[in-house]
């Protein structure tokens, strides 16, 4: 973002840059920058809080009055640790004949569709696979964890991209399964810690690493701070 600010200013545009990773914005030094110590993925701070977003914008827009390069700090820090855990009621096991993760994914399909109808498909399925392929994708991941060669397990696309679609499917469904708006990283924590498929994805990551699969294949199956 900060690099684009320099390019745009060279063309005569006034730029106002939000930076959420302090070392980056301090090094690239955009002409007018505001360090917002907010969770990654939330540069305006709080979803669903128009007043807070307006306050961030007001601080940012005020930088147009600067007579030279300026880098300021937004006075409020938002920490992910303050976020309440996401509480979602998952459907009970429906079929004992299929893997719990596949059963779970099929069980939340209705919630996923309700969430898409309410919020739009903003982070959901469709970039690599469609929603009908979710159970097959999870089945392929189960086969790998159970010992199959990842190249012959039937993953319906690029594994990293398929994993992103599966995560998006769950986090979209969670918007209507939850009893409150997700806090920062709460959706991810819920997926990886409390769902059968999320736990499977972490196990898959470890299995692929142990099997000597390329790092580019397994590393991006989950956020990078997760152990593998």
């Amino acid at each position: 973002m900060s690099t684009l600010a320099h390019i745009f200013e060279q063309q005569g545009l006034i730029t106002l840059t939000i930076g959420t990773v302090r070392p980056h914005i301090e090094k690239v030094r955009p002409p007018r920058g505001l360090v917002c110590d907010f969770p990654l993925g939330r540069p305006l701070g709080k979803p669903g809080d128009a007043q807070f977003q307006h306050d961030v914008l007001a601080r940012l827009l005020a930088l147009t009055a600067a007579e030279g390069p300026v880098l300021e700090d937004y006075p409020v820090t938002l920490a992910d640790a303050e976020a309440a855990p996401l509480v979602c009621a998952l459907p009970p096991r429906f079929s004992n004949n299929i893997h719990p993760a596949v059963d779970e994914a099929e069980g939340i399909k209705g919630a996923y569709e309700r969430a898409v109808a309410q919020y739009g498909n903003r982070i959901g399925v469709g970039r690599e696979i469609d929603v009908g392929q979710i159970p097959d994708a999870i089945s392929a991941f189960v086969h790998i964890v159970e010992g199959a060669d990842w190249r012959q397990a039937g993953i319906p696309g690029n594994p990293m991209r398929v994993a992103q679609d599966v995560r998006g499917y769950y986090q979209t469904a969670a918007l209507v399964l939850a009893d409150h708006s997700p806090g920062a990283w709460a959706g991810e924590n819920w997926f990886y810690q409390h769902t059968e498929t999320g736990k499977l994805m972490l196990e898959l990551r470890s299995v692929l690493k142990a099997a000597g699969a390329p790092q580019s294949l397994w590393f991006y199956l989950s956020p990078g701070d997760r152990p593998a």
Binding site: Q10, I18, P30
Partner: protein, 149 residues
């Protein structure tokens, strides 16, 4: 999941430096048309998605809200944007500011890049970045709000 751990990890990535930066003089906000440019790799549902290390940009129509997050990095929170797109693309907030005459107008077109670029950003600096600036100037944009993810 720890935001500080992820920030520590990505904070070590190399960044370009600009020893002699340009600086465009400011002007009163009430005279400014404002656009948002984000590195969240947003695109409309019927537009082409982003490839890994894609250095092109997509146009976001100010009159539409059907946007998808096309960024391939797993290292940021997605639920916030899923719940409220304004937390990344504050289009409704800007329209409210225009309605209150705080700013002159909201630009008709906003832009999205993918943040995960190569280290040199050569194509961005020489090609797609200047092209994006030209598009914004064609729309008579004065101020650009840049948002990361």
């Amino acid at each position: 999941m720890s935001d500080s751990d992820i920030k520590g990890m990505v904070g070590e990535l190399p960044c370009p430096e600009f020893p002699n930066p340009a600086f465009t003089p400011g002007k009163p906000l009430a005279q400014c048309r404002v656009a948002v440019v984000t590195s969240a790799a947003l695109h409309h549902v019927d537009d082409e998605g982003f490839a890994a290390r894609d250095d092109s940009f997509r146009i976001l129509d100010a009159g539409r809200r059907d946007v998808q997050l096309g960024h391939w990095s797993p290292n940021f929170d997605r639920s916030g944007f899923a719940h409220d797109l304004n937390v990344v693309w504050p289009i409704d907030r800007l329209e409210e500011l225009a309605a209150r005459n705080v700013i002159k107008a909201v630009a008709p077109r906003h832009l999205a890049f993918a943040g995960n670029q190569d280290e040199t950003m050569t194509s961005l600096r020489l090609d797609s970045g200047p092209a994006a600036a030209g598009l914004l100037i064609d729309d008579e944009v004065d101020v650009v709000v840049l948002t990361p993810v």
